[in-house]
């Protein structure tokens, strides 16, 4: 546990002080408020948080796909040392889908309903590499085979509505793998699916990334999912990362009361028959974030100081930290 985290060597992606705001008539609200994040080559990082915590906006910010009224106003996204935020749009486009791929939440909405699966997969190749359509098609067939879609050649001629939700998400995964990217950002890719399909997709995704050495940023609200998948976990609340560490540390010995609360509400990690915990209240809207620590209004460990000073992210070793004045008692990781 005290070994230096693997990303200390040479991170594939390093995010520093990322801040994304949404402009409205009443002012600008930060959906992502100073996020630091680092992903090593081949590493699986889980980014966990409730709806509205800013985790999806973080994902889109890394791809520079934040649409107005949203705007990335500060920070660096260093990908292999290059700051993506200062690249010209054409250079960013060349990276999207090629070096960094993304899988979206709702497979029903993300595939274009009037274009064939084949066209939508092939364009992901031909827009990046000077290969012919035939070569791209062959690669698409291979990729579909890897995610367990039978008779791929015929499937390529079909339209999205001829696929089930799970199948469509497999298509999205195959598409993401087409150019053997260094990093895949997966934004709640299993949330819209049946639980049984969820498990399969999770397993396939893990297998594929491991085989190809692709790093994975898995964005989810479901701690149960990251528990199976992630090497490291970042917990997000109200636009900030409130706790980070290896999966074992965070899951077995959470220090931030919010992480502890989230863990208490996951059925799969609690003893059967025990009562599930529930975090009181709801996440504060961005426009009415409390002073000091944003979690203090829902926190069981709240102290007077919490209303005044927003605690910084701090911890015993690099790669392990939490933002809390009064953390949960230390426990040994199992």
């Amino acid at each position: 546990m005290n070994a230096p985290s693997p990303n200390a060597a040479r991170p594939l992606l390093e995010v520093r002080g990322l801040r994304t705001v949404f402009h409205s008539l009443a002012g600008a609200y930060a959906a992502v408020d100073g996020v630091d994040l680092s992903i090593a080559p081949g590493e699986v990082v889980g980014l966990v948080g409730e709806s509205g915590s800013g985790k999806s906006v973080t994902g889109f910010s890394l791809m520079r796909l934040v649409d107005p009224p949203g705007e990335i106003v500060a920070g660096e996204v260093l990908f292999e040392g290059r700051d993506l935020l200062s690249l010209p749009e054409s250079a960013m486009r060349a990276i999207r889908g090629d070096r960094i791929a993304m899988i979206f939440q709702d497979p029903l909405m993300t595939l274009n309903p009037v274009l064939t699966i084949g066209e939508q997969m092939i364009e992901a190749v031909t827009e990046h590499h000077g290969v012919g359509e035939r070569a791209a098609r062959t690669r698409a067939i291979e990729a579909l085979g890897q995610v367990g879609i039978a008779s791929a050649a015929q499937r390529l001629r079909q339209y999205p509505h001829e696929f089930s939700g799970g199948m469509r998400q497999r298509v999205a995964i195959a598409t993401a793998m087409l150019n053997q990217p260094d990093l895949i950002i997966a934004d709640e890719p299993t949330t819209a699916l049946d639980v049984t399909i969820q498990g399969q997709i999770l397993h396939e995704m893990q297998k594929l990334c491991e085989a190809s050495g692709t790093a994975l940023l898995w964005i989810t609200h479901d701690l149960g999912v990251v528990a199976e998948l992630a090497d490291r976990i970042c917990v997000m609340y109200s636009g900030r990362i409130v706790e980070t560490g290896t999966a074992d540390d965070v899951l077995d010995a959470p220090r931030h009361p919010y992480t502890a609360g989230l863990l208490g509400s996951v059925p799969s990690v609690n003893a059967p028959g025990s009562r599930l915990h529930q975090i009181d209240g709801t996440a504060p809207p961005l426009s009415a974030r409390p002073t000091g620590c944003p979690f203090r209004t829902r926190c069981g460990n709240v102290l007077p100081v919490c209303a005044e000073i927003d605690p910084p992210l701090a911890g015993p070793v690099p790669g392990r930290g939490w933002r809390c004045h009064n953390p949960m008692p230390e426990r040994d990781a199992a």
């Binding site: 486009r93 990276i95 999207r96 993300t110 274009n112």
Partner: protein, 325 residues
């Protein structure tokens, strides 16, 4: 598919029958053509002969049955005024009208679709607002007024194009057409623009709203996340999605343009079907009016069927077998 087409054809027959009934009785109510056909100094006996020859001595319902009987044999009646079969008269004029309608639709789509997409892609910009404001003139100014203004500016004032007539024609597969001669083009262009303007505005606004909606869809963001270039996103992902409403409108408008071209054809003295209709109404030439409406309806119904078939090609989710009409 075959079942779908068959069902639609049967429906169309009923539509045509209903239309024929309405138009036949409506034309009867307009007035007595005999008054216009015979000169005031004709004797009563000659009058009687003429009335009998035209079949106007029978009660209206008998006249209608006779009409239906002839219709079943492909005969839509003979013009009172010209003494030739009404269908022949109309079909002679059909190429002129079709030429005008097709060119006007080409203008409407080739200008309206790109302008609309430009406006829809960046709705907040000044360009977009200018385009959208301009489009309001397209459909809110009356067609006859637009026609007269076009004549006034381009024919009278600037003298760029002639104001009336069809110009030189050449025979293409036995049909006289204007669009293959320079003189024909110069005659064709003003009426075609006149006819195109409302549809240009309509296509433009449809394309703009469709594009504005489509560009915010997840599939566009997903295509961007795949690194697809903007040009391709617009041409494949967005354009394909907005084509269904545009094709619908073009189809429906094709039918109504054939009807509305009456105004343009009258203003520009274009010798098409519409001009013939107006002339025939003035002369109470019943068979021509009835035949015109029947043929216009037939074109309408046929085009609608083609539009439905085009849907299935443009939107793979459309299943023709299940959709009733």
């Amino acid at each position: 598919m075959t079942l779908f087409i068959l069902r639609r054809v049967i429906q169309s027959v009923f539509v045509l029958l209903a239309v024929s009934l309405v138009v036949f009785f409506a034309v009867y109510a307009i007035g007595d053509p005999v008054e216009l056909l015979v000169s005031p100094d004709t004797s009563a006996a000659e009058r009687e002969v003429m009335i009998r020859r035209l079949g106007l001595d029978l009660p209206i319902w008998r006249q209608y049955l006779v009409f239906l009987g002839n219709l079943a044999q492909g005969d839509l009646g003979t013009s009172f005024v010209h003494g030739v079969p009404a269908v022949e008269l109309i079909l002679q004029r059909l190429p002129a009208t079709l030429e005008l309608v097709v060119l006007s639709l080409v203008i409407a789509v080739s200008i309206g679709l790109p302008l609309g997409m430009i406006a829809g892609l960046a709705p907040e910009t000044r360009t977009a607002r200018t385009i959208m404001t301009g489009s309001i003139f397209g459909y809110s100014l009356p067609a006859f007024w637009q026609g007269m203004m076009l004549i006034f500016v381009f024919a009278v004032f600037l003298n760029w194009a002639p104001a009336a007539g069809r110009g030189d024609t050449v025979s293409l597969l036995g049909v006289e057409v204007s669009f293959l001669t320079a003189d024909g083009w110069s005659h064709l262009i003003l009426p075609a623009i006149n006819l195109a303007l409302p549809n240009l505005a309509l296509v433009l606004r449809l394309a703009a709203s469709g594009t504005a909606e489509a560009r915010l869809q997840d599939y566009v963001k997903y295509a961007r996340a795949k690194g697809v270039r903007r040009g391709r996103i617009v041409r494949r992902h967005i354009l394909r999605n907005i084509l269904v409403p545009v094709v619908t409108v073009i189809g429906v408008e094709f039918g109504s343009l054939i009807a509305y071209s009456t105004i343009t054809e009258t203003v520009f003295a274009w010798p098409g079907m519409g001009k013939l209709l107006i002339d025939s109404v003035y002369q109470l030439d019943r068979p021509v009016v009835v035949a015109y409406v029947m043929i216009a309806t037939f074109i309408f119904v046929t085009v609608n069927l083609l539009v439905d078939l085009a849907y299935a090609m443009l939107d793979p989710r459309v299943e023709l077998e299940k959709g009733a009409s």
